[in-house]
Amino acid sequence: MNTPLLSVENLKVRFPVKRGLPWKAAQYVHAVDDVSFDIQRGETLGLVGESGSGKTTTALAVAKLINSWEGVVKLNGTDFFSLDKESLRLERANIQFIFQDPYSSLNPRLTAERIVSEPLRQLKNLSKKELAESVDDIFDAVGLRPEQKKLFPHQFSGGQRQRIGIARAIISKPQLVICDEPVSALDVAVQAQILNLLRDLQKRFNLTYLFISHDLGVVQHMCDRIAVMYMGKIVEFSNRMELFNSPQHPYTQALLSAVPSVDRKRRERVQRIVLSGDPPDPLNPVPGCHFAARCPSVDESIGCLKKFPPLDTVSESHQVACYRFKR
C-alpha cells in the first residue's frame, strides 16, 4: 500500500478545566483520546458520532487549528505538526476546512469575492489578474454567478453561503478538505444540492475528504470508509458496506437501529435498540470501555470495566474496539 495522504497517529486532545484555587492542579477534559486513522488519496473518510464525541475537535486538531496534547499527523508522509510557524502557515494551503455554520463562518464585512480569495492572498503569490481568474473559475465551479462576487454574506441564502465556504476551501487546491458537518445547518432540499456539489468537486479536483457528520444517511451517501467515535475514542472503523450491513460494536448497532426507514420490511427486521443511561463524565474517564455504562451486553468477566478494548480486526477493512467480538 502506498503512503496515505493523511495519517493520524495516537491523537489526543485535552482541554484544561480550572476549578477552585489557582494552585490546584487543572483537570482535563479528554476530548479526543488516542485516535488513529489513515486517509487514502481521493477517498472520503466519514467520522460519525453523537454530539460531544469529539468529531469536530479531532478535525480541528488535525488541521492544527487547536493544539493537540499528543500525537502525530502526517500529510504526504511529512509530519505536519512539527513544522515551524511559517511552513505550517504555508502548508495550510493543503488542508482546508468547510465549516458547519454558514452564518458564522463568513466575515460579514467582506464581499464574497474577498472571502473566497483570502487563502490565495495569504498563501500564494499571485498577480491581480491570476487572482481574479481563480475566483471566477471557482465561483463557476461551486455554482455561484459572477455578478454575486461583489455581494456581502448577508445578501445570500444559507445554501449559497455554504457554497461560498466551499469555494474558499477549495480555491487553494488543497489535497485534504475537512468538511465539518457541512450540511447539518441547511434544510433537506439544500443539503442534497450541497452534497452533490461536494461529490462533483471531489471528482473534478481530485479532492480527499474527511467528512464529519452525525447524520448516518448523509454519511452513507458520501463516504467510502467510516469511523464511529464515542467519547473521544474510535469504537469501530470500517468500509461503508460492512458497517451498514454488519455493525459489530454495540454502539454502532444502536446507532444504525435508530435510522428511520420508509422500507417496511427493513423496519420489521431491524429491532430498535434503545440505550439507557448517560455518557460518562469526560472529566473523570472510567478505566474500562467508555461505552460500558450504556452497553446492553456489558460483561464484567471479559474485562469491559478494566481497560479500554483495543481495535480488533474483523476483516481486512473492518476493525472494532469491543471485547465481546473476540469471543
Binding site: 487549528l65 495550510r92 465549516f99 463568513l106 466575515n107 464585512r109 487563502p119 455561484l144 448577508h154 474558499r168
Partner: protein, 290 residues
C-alpha cells in the same frame, strides 16, 4: 442550484444599513447638525469674529445685548461671545484628542488582552483594573499639578483616566468574536495573528467602540470643564470651563457670565450623547427593539 431569477442585486455593505438607520433617528440627526454647527463655529468663528477674548473692551458686567456685545462682558469687561467662540475650539479639541487617546490606549490593550489571552491578558487586565480604581478626578489633578497646566498635559490626564472602559469593551468583543468560525476560517486561510487582530476581529468589534468613543468625547469635554473650573488649566487659552471658573465669584451679580458657557457645554455634551445613542441603535440592531 441558484434558482431565483438573475436580477442584479446591488452589493450593500453592512455599514450602509447602519448609516441609513442612523439617519432615521431624528434626535440624533438634529444633534449631529447642531454639533456640526458648533464645530464649524469653533473652527471658523474666531476668523470672522476676530475679537481677542482677553481684551478688555467695555465696562465689566454689561448684560447681553448691550453695546453690540451679544453675550455681554465679564468681570474684567472682556467680550463673552469671543470667549465662548474661542473656548469652543479648545473644548472640542481637548475632547476629541482625549477621546482619540483613550481609544488608542484602550483598543491596543483590550485587543492584545482579548486576542492572546493567558498571561498577557492577566497582566494587561490587572493594569487596567489598577487605572480603573484610581479616583479619576484626583489622579488627573495630580498629573496636571505635577506636569504643569498646559493643554497637552490636560489631554493626557483625561486620556489616562478614561481608557480602562474602552479597554474592557474591546477585550470583551475580542473574546466573543475570536471564537467565531470566520476567525478560525481566516486562520485556516493562513492569516497571521496581527492580520487576524486588526483586519478581521477589529472591524467586527468596532460598533460598541465607536459608540463608546462618541460618548467619551462628551465626557472628556465635561472633564476638561471640571479641571478648568478648579483652576487646573492653561491660563493662556480660553475654554468654557475656564470662563465659568473665573467668573464663579460673580454668579449672583452676573449669572449670565457663568450660565452662557455652561449652556454651551450642556448643548455640546447633549448632542454628543444623542449621537452616541443614535449610533448605538444603528450599530446594534439586535438591541433596537427595546
Amino acid at each position: 442550484m441558484t434558482t431565483e431569477s438573475p436580477s442584479p442585486i446591488k452589493a450593500r455593505h453592512p455599514a450602509a444599513d447602519a448609516i441609513a438607520m442612523f439617519f432615521k433617528n431624528i434626535p440624533a440627526v438634529v444633534a449631529l447638525i447642531v454639533l456640526t454647527a458648533i464645530i464649524l463655529a469653533g473652527i471658523f468663528g474666531p476668523i470672522f469674529y476676530a475679537a481677542d477674548p482677553y481684551d478688555m473692551v467695555w465696562a465689566p458686567f454689561s448684560p447681553p445685548g448691550e453695546e453690540g456685545f451679544i453675550f455681554g462682558t465679564d468681570y474684567l469687561g472682556r467680550d463673552l461671545f469671543a470667549g465662548i467662540l474661542h473656548g469652543a475650539r479648545v473644548s472640542l479639541l481637548v475632547g476629541l484628542s482625549a477621546a482619540a487617546m483613550t481609544v488608542f490606549i484602550g483598543v491596543t490593550i483590550g485587543a492584545l488582552a482579548g486576542f492572546f489571552q493567558g498571561w498577557v491578558e492577566e497582566v494587561l487586565m490587572r493594569i487596567t483594573e489598577f487605572f480603573q480604581v484610581l479616583p479619576t478626578l484626583l489622579f488627573s489633578m495630580v498629573i496636571v499639578a505635577l506636569f504643569g497646566a498646559s493643554l497637552p498635559v490636560i489631554t493626557l490626564a483625561i486620556g489616562l483616566v478614561s481608557w480602562p472602559a474602552v479597554a474592557r469593551i474591546t477585550r470583551a468583543e475580542f473574546l466573543s468574536i475570536r471564537q467565531l468560525e470566520y476567525v478560525t476560517a481566516s486562520r485556516a486561510s493562513g492569516m497571521k495573528p496581527f492580520g487576524l487582530m486588526f483586519s478581521i476581529i477589529l472591524p467586527n468589534a468596532a460598533p460598541p467602540i465607536i459608540v463608546q468613543t462618541a460618548l467619551m468625547v462628551g465626557s472628556a469635554i465635561l472633564f476638561e470643564a471640571g479641571l478648568s473650573f478648579l483652576g487646573l488649566t492653561d491660563p493662556n487659552v480660553v475654554s468654557w470651563g475656564q470662563i465659568i471658573g473665573s467668573n464663579r465669584p460673580y454668579i449672583l451679580d452676573a449669572g449670565y457670565t457663568v450660565t452662557l458657557p455652561g449652556v454651551a457645554i450642556f448643548i455640546t455634551v447633549l448632542c454628543l450623547s444623542l449621537i452616541g445613542d443614535g449610533l448605538n441603535d444603528a450599530l446594534n440592531p439586535k438591541l433596537r427593539q427595546r
